[in-house]
Amino acid sequence: MEPEQAPDSAGPEYVLHLFITGATPNSTQAVRNLQDICERYLPGRCELQIVDIYQQPELARAERIVAAPTLIKKQPGLVRFLVGDLSDRRRVLSLLGLVPDPNDPYLHD
């Protein structure tokens, strides 16, 4: 499933920052979705940071957060803002450059 290894992997391959707003439905859903993706597709390859901007509002400005929840893909490639609760699994995977796993139960809902 994971054919290519990053050749110069000083750090983790994927750096993902998820900004959530407390325990709102969208946020909990996003956390759940992202954790599932990381476990299923990126075990050990990803540095995941979850920030509650209610707790650290100053980060919202620094990280240019407008919508919530927002997943910022810092690496690899271009910085991307994935806005929403990450329920659109196919879209999320394609944005992260991952190939969908046919066994993924969330792919077809």
Binding site: F19, T21, T24, P25, N26, Q29, A30, N33, I53, Y54, P57, E58, A60, R61, R64, I65, V66, A67, A68, P69, T70, L71, L78, V79, R80, F81, L82, V83, G84, D85, L86, S87, D88, R91, V92, L95
Partner: protein, 576 residues
């Protein structure tokens, strides 16, 4: 604000922007959002930045500027020209600039979301400096970054509600849309106060106008008001009150021409009143205006002279030729002559210049020479609007004002009525050519003078080396006469007077002659009388002498008889 009288008024946050607070009766609704919409280049951002800066500087209300289009650095640079130092304010923790960058190419939607991030940023910015004012410029940019309109609309609605709950006075700017106030119909959500800015080009002159479309819970000016972006920020006109309730003075000031003063029963113009001098070309309007200005300076008052036709030097030289030396007043700082071409600026700019100079110089008298030239830069309606505002402003300030206006010969009165100025001013003096046979003379008359009786005569006046002198009224057989007819009349009157004098002298001489004749006769009679008297007196004396001699002789006879004794008989005949 401190709004807790018997009937609580809608609390308002003064903007500090010139004129806007007057139109809105005190400012924007406090603690509520206001929508500021307009097309490109209207100064929406500028006005909202000024709202924040003035709020900080004048009312000590910190502010947050959330910019969706420009970065903090760009914003700061753009308003430096107005003297706003945003960076300093940020450093002083009075202002927070937050640039919200929304880039469609970076954003992907993957499910349900809201704009809570924006709320948190804004809330954090507000709480960190205790902001009372917020500007969102231009929130519609969000629509280009997010595709889910339903979410955006409900979130924007929620944002405004949230801002209201937070009690911050907010300005939301928005681009003007086709057929609606804003492109995204934001006016649906902001229902407290909507201000529309407009940028129009008419006859190659751009005028920016502001209109308050709605203001819930408050009265407001409903007109379109011109506004300007000046080097001090935005200036909305009128800078004056909308009401007619200025103080009035009973004091009377001179027009600078003694004869003209006498034509008013109170001997001059009321202080703080406005006077219009109309006249055709070359009827000494400027001279009258300069005389008024010089007289004000002579009283020790400051006078501001706006010359739209002559440069200060030219004006002073020309006035010197008629005995009005303005130079000393200029040197004393009592007189300030501001000369500019009417076409230099648009009308509003002129008005602002006038306002600014009046504000700086604080004059007691203002002369504008002439107002009719302003028509060249605006339509008559606009000029009237501007003059209304100007006259209103001057009256509120208690400044005695004098305007001159050039009118064309025929329809002198009509024209000024059209311009509507005549109904604005308190006193209307008309100077005109009195064209007779082969000559022109100048005549001055008073068409109206509010609050005092005045002469109804057309008085001829001459411009001499000592200034303007009104001539006495000369009434000839055909009415009041002027010029050469006046001379003729004068000569005729002189001839009649000489003839009368000669007649009197002739009679005097006649009388003298008669007296002399009479006196001669009297002398004759007296001489005659004297000679008769002398003769009579002499004969009287002779008679007396004779009588004495006779009585002496008798005594002697009697004495002789008595000497002889016993001769009694001789005495008897002596006694008989």
């Amino acid at each position: 604000m401190t709004a807790a009288p018997a009937l609580p008024q809608l609390p308002k946050a003064p903007t500090g922007i010139d004129g806007l607070d007057e139109i809105t009766n005190g400012g924007l609704p406090q603690g509520r959002p206001t929508l500021l919409c307009g097309s490109a280049g209207c100064g929406k951002t500028l006005m909202s930045v000024e709202f924040l800066v003035r709020g900080i500087e004048e009312f000590d209300e910190p502010g947050v500027l959330m910019a969706f289009e420009e970065t903090a650095d760009e914003l700061a640079a753009n308003v430096t020209s107005l003297g706003f130092d945003l960076k300093q304010l940020v450093a002083d923790k009075k202002l927070r600039l937050d640039h919200v960058h929304v880039d469609r190419s970076e954003i992907e939607e993957t499910g349900e979301y809201d704009l809570e991030g924006l709320f948190i940023r804004l809330g954090y910015a507000i709480d960190s400096i205790g902001a009372k004012r917020v500007v969102l410029d231009t929130i519609e940019s969000l629509f280009s970054g997010f595709s889910n309109q339903a979410v955006l609309r409900s979130e924007i609605r929620r944002l405004f509600r949230w801002l209201k709950d937070k009690g911050v006075t907010t300005i939301i700017t928005a681009e003007r849309g086709d057929g609606s106030l804003t492109r995204q119909g934001l006016e649906e959500y902001v229902s407290d106060c909507v201000i529309l800015l407009d940028n129009r080009v008419i006859n190659q002159i751009t005028t920016r106008r502001l209109r308050i479309v709605k203001y819930r819970g408050s009265t407001h000016g409903t007109n379109e008001y011109p506004y300007l972006i000046t080097e001090d920020g935005i200036s909305v006109l009128p800078v004056t009150s909308l009401k007619l309730e200025h103080e009035v003075s009973n004091e009377v000031v001179s027009t600078g021409v003694p004869g003209l003063d006498e034509m008013f029963t109170r001997g001059g113009l009321y202080r703080g009143s406005s006077t219009l001098i109309t006249g055709t070309a070359g009827t000494a309007k400027t001279t009258l205006a300069a005389a008024f200005a010089a007289e004000a300076c002579r009283r020790g008052e400051r006078c501001l002279y706006f010359a739209f036709e002559e440069s200060p030097q030219q004006l002073m030289r020309n006035m010197r030729s008629v005995g009005l030396d303005l130079q000393p007043f200029v040197e004393q700082g009592l007189l300030h002559i501001e000369a500019s071409r009417p076409t230099l600026n648009g009308l509003e700019q002129h008005l602002v210049t006038l306002h600014k100079l009046i504000g700086q110089f604080r004059p007691q008298a203002v002369v504008i020479d002439p107002i009719s030239n302003l028509v060249s830069v605006g339509s008559i309606t606009e000029v009237r609007g501007m003059l209304t505002r100007l006259i209103d402003y001057l009256k509120v300030q208690g400044i005695t004002a004098l305007f001159t206006a050039l009118v064309s010969g025929r329809s002198a009165n009509q024209e000024m009525t059209e311009e509507g100025v005549s109904s604005l001013v308190d006193t209307w003096i008309h100077v005109r050519d009195l064209e007779g046979i082969g000559e022109r003379n100048r005549g001055v008359s008073i068409l109206k003078a509010r609050g005092m009786a005045h002469s109804n005569q057309v008085r001829e006046f001459v411009v001499t080396h000592e200034g303007i002198r009104l001539l006495d009224v000369v009434i000839g057989p055909g009415g009041i006469v002027t010029g050469a007819s006046r001379q003729t009349q004068f000569l005729q009157e002189q001839a009649v007077a000489v003839a009368a004098q000669q007649e009197i002298e002739r009679r005097e001489r006649e009388l003298e002659r008669k007296r002399r004749v009479l006196e001669a006769t009297i002398a004759n009679l007296r001489t005659e009388f004297e000679s008769v008297e002398e003769e009579l007196r002499r004969s009287n004396q002779e008679e007396e002498q004779r009588h004495q001699e006779l009585s002496q002789a008798r005594q002697q006879i009697a004495a002789g008889h008595n000497a002889r004794p016993g001769n009694h008989s001789a005495a008897a005949p002596a006694n008989s």
